[in-house]
């Protein structure tokens, strides 16, 4: 396989809050090839949005990239190493701020945010905002940019684009605004679009329309996507490959079919179990027990062991990395020591099931007394 368009390697992002350091993203690695649509799935708070914001270095204070490297099309967007004094620093290879802003942001990588109601500036016209970004990122004159904006609005299915060009965001519905933001991303002709839960705020029928639109546009433009979502249904519909995140780590990484039919990580299995299906009644729904622990104080060992039905004692001490556990290309990776690829004493270790329940309660009450 050719070199990936985007390669994220051991990325670590931490937030330095008054309560302590939050390890929002804790050493994740994934890549995106040209024309691929890669999913990033997980519960709220897993660190998905932080991970994708880091790609364009959009992390705001008190957050900071404290380790890892992000390469895009052969260039190093960021590389952070730890110095001899223990403080992380950006290496020489890291692209300077001005260059990143001028050559990468918008031009090479565009982003679509979760909430279309908040992503457009309420005091400027929709067309004007679109035009500004096109002008900036494609070196068009104002007139050319305007024409391009109108044609992109038509492309994403806005009726009467010339008339709507001068309208303000509040005159658009949520679905229409998200179409505008997709038009904005595509109009700058980037090689990669980061979509951060773009359909979460929309209702189901609009979501389906937007997904169809994106698939159709992706076929025609060949743009690569990183698609952040918490919805396994969306993953199944549009992704080529999927990364499952839990508490700042990637726990499973696989082509979409393998993920659904040969699930290798108990967390992914639990996520799939908790999706309502028409062939099951609501009583049979099997949500994941407990809530995701706080990233400020993650459990020892495997981070999922407090909620994992298959957890054993060995899981409380070993935090597995994401290793290849299946055969095939692209590879199927998982971070669970029950697989043979991990030389851990899983099979000989006593199950945690009953103890896990207890341990979970203890950690909960312990958390309360701490406060």
């Amino acid at each position: 396989m050719s070199d990936p368009l985007l390669r994220v390697d051991d990325l670590q992002v931490q937030f330095f809050t008054e309560d302590g350091v939050v390890r929002a993203v804790d050493g994740i690695s994934f890549d995106v090839h040209e024309g691929e649509l890669v999913g990033l799935v997980g519960e709220s708070g897993a660190g998905k949005s932080v991970a994708v914001s880091a790609i364009m270095r959009l992390i705001e204070s008190p957050g900071k990239i404290v380790g890892g490297r992000i390469e895009f099309d052969g260039e190093t967007l960021v590389e952070v190493e730890t110095g001899p004094d223990g403080d992380p620093y950006r290496t020489e290879a890291t692209m300077p701020d001005g260059e990143l802003r001028e050559r990468i942001r918008g031009r090479e990588i565009a982003i679509i945010f979760q909430d279309p109601m908040e992503s457009l500036n309420p005091v400027f016209t929709v067309g004007g905002q679109l035009r500004e970004f096109i002008e900036l990122n494609r070196d068009f004159s104002e007139r050319e940019a305007r024409e391009e904006a109108v044609s992109m609005l038509r492309e994403v299915g806005i009726p009467e684009p010339e008339a709507r060009y001068g309208d303000y965001p509040h005159q658009f519905s949520g679905g229409m605004r998200q179409r505008v933001l997709i038009a904005m991303a595509l109009a700058c002709e980037p090689s990669l679009i980061i979509a951060d839960e773009p359909t979460t705020a929309l209702d189901v029928t609009v979501e389906a329309q937007i997904l169809d639109l994106v698939e159709d546009l992706q076929d025609r433009y060949g743009t690569s996507f990183v698609w952040v979502t918490h919805d396994m249904g969306v993953v199944a519909e549009i992704c080529d490959r999927v990364n499952v995140m839990y508490l700042g780590e990637i726990v499973e990484q696989a082509p979409v079919d393998d993920l659904f039919y040969e699930t290798k990580h108990p967390y992914t299995a639990a996520l799939l179990d908790s999706v309502p299906r028409p062939d099951q009644t609501v009583e049979e729904l099997n949500p994941i027990k407990g809530v995701m622990p706080e990233a400020i104080d993650p459990p020892s060992g495997c981070r999922f062991h407090t909620r994992c039905p298959e957890a054993r004692e060995a899981c409380t001490t070993t935090n597995p990395d994401c290793r290849e556990v299946g055969f095939g290309d692209p590879p199927h990776r998982a971070a669970c020591i029950k697989h043979d690829a991990f030389d851990a004493a899983y099979s000989g270790s006593p199950p945690l099931d009953a103890a896990a329940q207890q341990g979970f309660d203890v950690s909960l009450s312990g958390g309360e007394t701490d406060d």
Binding site: L58, E60, I111, E118, P122, V123, F133, L136, N137
Partner: protein
């Protein structure tokens, strides 16, 4: 044009508001104990003299008749005659209003000109020394009464340093012959500026501080909004983001505060005029209330109400100008 329709509607809505002000002021004055005749004639007056004076000023008529007559005259811009000064109320106001408008206008101009850049810079350099300094200055500014600032300024600049005058105002449009120490147009402007500086600072500091605080917090809020993050993600320069993508949105709460500051400024003008011995509307209204000069109280109150209503209308129209959502309902 939705903005024009909106503005027209706002102006028309002000008419019933002003009518309400007239009615309430009229009722309040008449509800207060005592009347001007009692004050003019002193204790145990001659009954016949009371009747004559009451008839002279129309006070013998029932209140609804007097109110109706007042309204009819008011529409013709006649506010009656001041009992104490024995002169038309409108003439008295025309004589006093310019000083107050000059004082309030200049203090607002000073407040806005200083507060907006301070607030923006403070937000941009959040938690850095510039920000801390601005925050301390604005906190002190909002917590210090304007008359105290005025007294300190007089003490320092007039009494000890002797560089600026402590009393009175000179109108910048006065003829050079009427101004002491000035022989040319420019000289008048300099003298007027010297007189204006201290009152302007003492009245404007509170507004400046209040606006700075709002400007800062409003900018901070907008700078973390999604559309600003989006602009950043599309490669827009920080300076353009500040100037274009964030600034306009951040002005909405600032405009509200400026409009509300108008009330405090009117109150502050009364105190400032007293401290600096400026013959303006503030002192006129206070003295006319203590003399129970009914027509003059009515006139001065109405003028202040009018200034305030105009300020509110301007606030609303600038609001609609900045944010297209405000006048959205007025579209055809």
């Amino acid at each position: 044009m939705s903005l024009i329709r909106y503005s027209t509607r706002r102006v028309l809505q002000a008419v019933p508001v002003l009518l309400g002000v007239v009615a309430i002021t009229f009722a309040l004055i008449n509800a207060a104990p005592g009347n001007p005749v009692d004050i003019m004639l002193g204790p145990s007056p001659n009954q016949a003299a009371v009747e004559t004076l009451k008839a002279k000023y129309g006070l013998d008529q029932p209140i609804h008749i007097r109110f109706w007559k007042y309204l009819v005259n008011l529409v013709q811009l006649d506010m009656g005659r001041s009992i104490y000064y024995d002169a038309p109320v409108t003439a008295k106001i025309a004589q006093r209003l310019p000083a107050t408008l000059l004082l309030m206008g200049s203090s607002f101009a000073f407040a806005i000109a200083a507060a907006v850049p301070l607030g923006v810079v403070s937000a941009q350099r959040r938690n850095k020394p510039t920000d801390h300094l601005t925050r301390v200055v604005s906190l002190v500014g909002v917590s210090t009464p304007s008359f105290w600032i005025g007294l300190v300024l007089i003490l320092v600049f007039s009494f000890h340093l002797g560089v600026l005058p402590a009393t009175n105002l000179v109108m910048p449009w006065a003829p050079p012959s009427a101004v002491a120490g000035a022989s040319t147009r420019l000289g008048v402007l300099v003298v007027a500026g010297e007189h204006l500086l201290l009152p302007m600072l003492s009245l404007g500091t509170l507004q400046m501080a209040a606006i700075t605080r709002i400007e800062r917090s409003s900018m901070l809020e907008v700078l973390s909004d999604d559309y600003v993050r989006l602009a950043r993600a599309y490669g827009v320069k920080e300076r353009t983001i500040l100037r274009k993508h964030a600034f306009r949105n951040a002005q909405l709460p600032v405009i509200t505060i400026i409009g509300l500051q108008l009330t405090t400024a009117i109150g502050g003008a009364v105190l400032t005029e007293t401290v600096f011995e400026i013959n303006g509307m503030g002192r006129l209204i206070v003295s006319s209330i203590s003399r129970q000069d009914f027509p003059l109280v009515m006139g001065t109150t109405l003028v202040f109400a009018f200034v305030f209503v105009v300020g509110v209308i301007l606030t609303d129209i600038s609001y609609a100008y900045v944010d297209p959502r405000v006048s959205y309902g007025d579209q055809e």
